[in-house]
Symmetry: C2
Subunit: 469 residues, 2 copies
C-alpha cells in the first residue's frame, strides 16, 4: 500500500532547490548574493532612496583555492526601507511570505528568494542567519533565525533591541554558506557590473574573499518614480480572481464593482461590458450565480469584448531612454549607441514595456555572434541565454543581413523587459518565456534600433570612401 504524506512549501523548495538556482556551491553562491542584492534594491526603490548596498563575502574555512566547496560568510547591508520587527522572522524564515504579492513592477515576485539563500546556508553549514533592521525609528532590531523546513516556520534563536541614535534605516543580512568563489567570481562580478548598467542611481560595494574591494559607483542621484499598485486588468482574470474580489468587495452593484476592482474600467466601459454580458447594472456582485461568473470570465477575453482600455503603465517603472543610454555608455564604452523605449503593451492583462538598445564599436569585442544583454525589471539575467525569448528573436526573427549587420561585428544588443509579472520560466528567474506579445515587441524594437545602426554604419562607410578619394 502506498504511504501518503504532505510536505511544506519549504520542504518542497528544499528538495527541489535546483529549480530556484541553488544546484551546486558555485551557482548557489551567485544565487544567494543576487537574491539579497535584489531585495535591497527593491527596498530602496520602493521609497525612492538612492541605494547604497554593501556586500561582503569572506572565507570562513576550507581553502578558497581548493577544489569543491568552501565555507563563506555573506553579508549584505542596505540603506533601504528596513523590515518592521513583527515581520522579520517570517520575511526571512517562512517561504511564500513577503510584501511583493501585488500588481506593480518590482524585482521580487515569489516570496522565496531571500529564504532560499538562508536555507541553503543552513543546510550546508548548520548555521543560523543574523538579520539586523530598522525602519528608521528609535530601535534597531537584531534577530538570529533558522528555518524549520518541515513546518515552514521561522525559529527565532536570539532577539536583541539596540537604541537607534543615528536614526539609521536599512537591513543587514549575515550568514554562512558553502560556495565556490573561484568558479563563481566572474559571474558575480558580471552580475554586479550589469546591475550598475541598468540601475545607474545605485552604488554597490563588494569586498570579496581575496580582500579586494570593487566599487560600482552610481552615475546619477536621480531616482525613478516608484510604480503604483494597480488593479487586475479584465484580460487577465479567471474565476478564482473574480471570486476573491466578490468575497472582499463592499460594492453593492455590479456597475460599481466593475469600476472599483478592475484596471481602467470607467462608467462607460462598465455599462457597455455589463450590457454585453447580459447582467443588470444594479445586481449585487454577491448574488451572481455560477453561470454568471463563467459568462463574465469568458466575456472578459480580448477576443470577446474589445471595449476595455489597454493597461496603463503607471504600475511600471522602466529605465527610460536617457538612463538606459547612460548605463550602456558607462559599462560598454561603445562608439555608437541607439536606444528605444517601446510603447506600453500587455500580455494576458499584464502591462509591460520593452526597452531596447544596440551598441557598436568602441570597447565592444567582436565575437562569433552578436552579444546579448538581458534584463527583466532591472535584474541582469546571466544564465540560460539559449532558452530565452530574446535570444530566440535575435537568432530566428531578425533579418540581420537586411541591415548589413554580420554576426562578427563588435555589436551588443540590450533588451530590458519591465512588467507587473515577468513571465520567467523558472523560479530561479534566469530566462523568459516566449509570450507572443513580448516576442513581438522585442522583435520590433530590435528591428528599429538595428535600422538606425545600419544607417550609421553606411554613413560611416560612405564618409570613409569620401576620405579615400
Amino acid at each position: 500500500a502506498e504511504r501518503f504524506s504532505e510536505i511544506s512549501a519549504a520542504d518542497f523548495f528544499y528538495r527541489n532547490r535546483d529549480l530556484a538556482g541553488f544546484n551546486n556551491p558555485t551557482r548557489a553562491l551567485y544565487a544567494a548574493l543576487r537574491e539579497l542584492v535584489e531585495n535591497s534594491l527593491d527596498a530602496c526603490e520602493l521609497y525612492k532612496i538612492p541605494p547604497k548596498i554593501y556586500v561582503r563575502l569572506s572565507s570562513e574555512g576550507g581553502s578558497d583555492e581548493a577544489d569543491g566547496g568552501a565555507i563563506y560568510r555573506l553579508r549584505v547591508a542596505d540603506n533601504g526601507s528596513g523590515v518592521p520587527p513583527e515581520y522579520v522572522p517570517s520575511a526571512f524564515g517562512q517561504i511564500l511570505f513577503g510584501s511583493k504579492y501585488r500588481l506593480r513592477q518590482v524585482r521580487g515576485t515569489f516570496g522565496l528568494g531571500g529564504k532560499m539563500a538562508i536555507l541553503y546556508g543552513q543546510i550546508t553549514t548548520h548555521g543560523s542567519a543574523r538579520i539586523i533592521s530598522s525602519v528608521g525609528d528609535g530601535s534597531i532590531h537584531e534577530f538570529e533565525i533558522r528555518i524549520d523546513i518541515q513546518r515552514n516556520k521561522p525559529e527565532v534563536l536570539k532577539r536583541k533591541i539596540h537604541e537607534n541614535r543615528d536614526k539609521w534605516r536599512g537591513t543587514i543580512i549575515d550568514f554562512s554558506l558553502e560556495g565556490d568563489y573561484t568558479k563563481a567570481m566572474s559571474k558575480i562580478l558580471e552580475y554586479l557590473r550589469q546591475t550598475g548598467m541598468v540601475n545607474p542611481y545605485a552604488e554597490i560595494t563588494l569586498v570579496d574573499p581575496r580582500g579586494r574591494l570593487y566599487l560600482f559607483e552610481s552615475a546619477t542621484n536621480k531616482m525613478p518614480e516608484p510604480p503604483s499598485e494597480t488593479e487586475p486588468h479584465p484580460y487577465g482574470c479567471d474565476v478564482e480572481t473574480i471570486q476573491r474580489m466578490i468575497s472582499s468587495t463592499q460594492c453593492t452593484t455590479m456597475l460599481s464593482f466593475m469600476m472599483e476592482h478592475f484596471h481602467r474600467v470607467g462608467k462607460k466601459t462598465a455599462e457597455s461590458f455589463l450590457e454585453h454580458v447580459g447582467i443588470e447594472e444594479d445586481k449585487s456582485p454577491k448574488r451572481l450565480n455560477s453561470n454568471d461568473l463563467v459568462r463574465i470570465v469568458q466575456m472578459m477575453k480580448p477576443e470577446n469584448f474589445k471595449g476595455f482600455l489597454p493597461p496603463d503603465p503607471s504600475c511600471l517603472s522602466p529605465l527610460g531612454e536617457e538612463l538606459l543610454e547612460t548605463g550602456i555608455r558607462k559599462e560598454l564604452h561603445p562608439e555608437f549607441v541607439v536606444v528605444e523605449q517601446r510603447n506600453p503593451s500587455a500580455y494576458s492583462g499584464y502591462p509591460f514595456i520593452v526597452e531596447v538598445g544596440i551598441a557598436y564599436g568602441g570597447e565592444i569585442p567582436a565575437g562569433s555572434s552578436l552579444a546579448l544583454y538581458r534584463f527583466a525589471n532591472k535584474i541582469p539575467l546571466l544564465y540560460d541565454e539559449a532558452s530565452d525569448v530574446s535570444r530566440k528573436v535575435m537568432n530566428t526573427e531578425i533579418n540581420w543581413g537586411y541591415y548589413k549587420i554580420s554576426q562578427d561585428l563588435p555589436i551588443a544588443v540590450i533588451i530590458h523587459i519591465c512588467s507587473t509579472k515577468v513571465p520567467y520560466k523558472t523560479v530561479g528567474k534566469e530566462f523568459i518565456a516566449d509570450r507572443p506579445e513580448i516576442e513581438r515587441e522585442i522583435k520590433n524594437g530590435i528591428n528599429s534600433v538595428a535600422r538606425q545602426l545600419s544607417h550609421h554604419l553606411s554613413k560611416k562607410i560612405s564618409i570613409e570612401h569620401e576620405k579615400e578619394r
Copy 2:
C-alpha cells in the same frame, strides 16, 4: 509601509501556473491530460498491473472549431492501484500531497501535477472534479471535490459509496476545463504515441472531441519489476537530511546509524568512514554536536571520502534494450536500429541509467537536423527541446562528421534517462538540466550507437558498390 502576506502553496502555483505548463488553453489541455495519464501509469506500474488507460475528451460548449478557448470534459480512467478513500480528498485537492516523496524511480515527484489539472479546470469553468476510485475491496468511493486555493485544502462537495460487486480496482478522474483541442491535438496524439513507444506494455485509448477513437495498443504483457525504495546515498546528503535521520532513528550507535540510514553502507564502509571523520563508532547519533554534523556532511562528499560504493540500480526501473528496440521499431518503423543501456551511474548521490537508441531509414523522415526523442522515467518530453541537455549534447558534443553522419540523413536519436530524481529544470517537467554526469553518459551513449550505425552505413555502401560491379 509595506503590506506583508503569506500565500499557500496552492495560491503560489495558481499565480504561477505557467511554471507548471498551464500557460494557455492549448498548453493546459496537453498538460492536464499528460499529468493524469502519468498518474495512471505510475499507479499501474507500482503494482505490476498491465495498464489499461481510457482517456475521453469531449466538447462541452463553445465551438471546438472557434478561435480561442472552448470548454472540454476530460475523463481519465485506469485499472491501477486505486486511492484509499481517506486520502482521495488530499491526493486530488491539496497541493504538495502525494505518495511519491520517496527514493525510487517513478513519474511523479512533486505532489502537484494532478492537482494543477483540477485547479486549472476549476478556475476556467468554476466546475468541480469527480473522483471515483476503489482499491479492489468491497466499495467504490465517489467524491466531488474542489480546491480551496487560498487555504490549499480540498472541499468535499459530495461523497457516495457504491458496492463493488466486480471487485473493480482503479481510478477515474472527471472534470471540465478550458482548452483548445484544434491547436493541442497534434501534441496530444504525439504524446500518446511516444508514451506507447516507451511503455510497450500499456494500452491507452483516446476518444477525442471529434468522436474519433485512437487505440494505442500494447505490444507485450511483460511488466518490468517495480523499483524498490532506497535510502539516500551519502554523496547526496546535507545537514538537513542527516538531522532528519537523527531525529527519527532508533539506532543507538553511529556504526548502526551509518549502516541503517544510508544506501549500500555496510559494516566495513561504516567503520572506515567513521574513522576517517574522527567519530567513535559507539557514539549515539543523538549526541552529535553541530561540529560533528558539519564534519560528517563535508566528509560525505565524493572528493573527500572515496570509500562509498556507487548507488545500485534496484531503485530504478529502466526499459531495457529489448523493450526499447521493440518500442522504437513499433513506432518509427526504421530500417535499422541499435540501442544501448549504459551502466548505472549517479549524480549528487542519485542513481541514474541512460538508455540510448539510434534509428535509421525506413519510415523515418529526413530533416534539416537529426530528430531527437527524449524520455525521462518513461515520460515523453515534447517541449523546450532547445534547452534540454540531450539536444545540447547532440548539437555541440558529438562529432557527427567523424561517423560520416550528415544532418540530412533520415535518422532519429532516442534518449531515455531514468533516475530516482530527474533533474528537471521546471515543475512542468519538459526539459532536463545539464548535470555533468548525465551529460557524459548521454554523450558516451550517443557516440557508441552512432559508431555502430556508421558501421552499418559503410557496410551498406560497400555492399551496394559490390553490386554495381
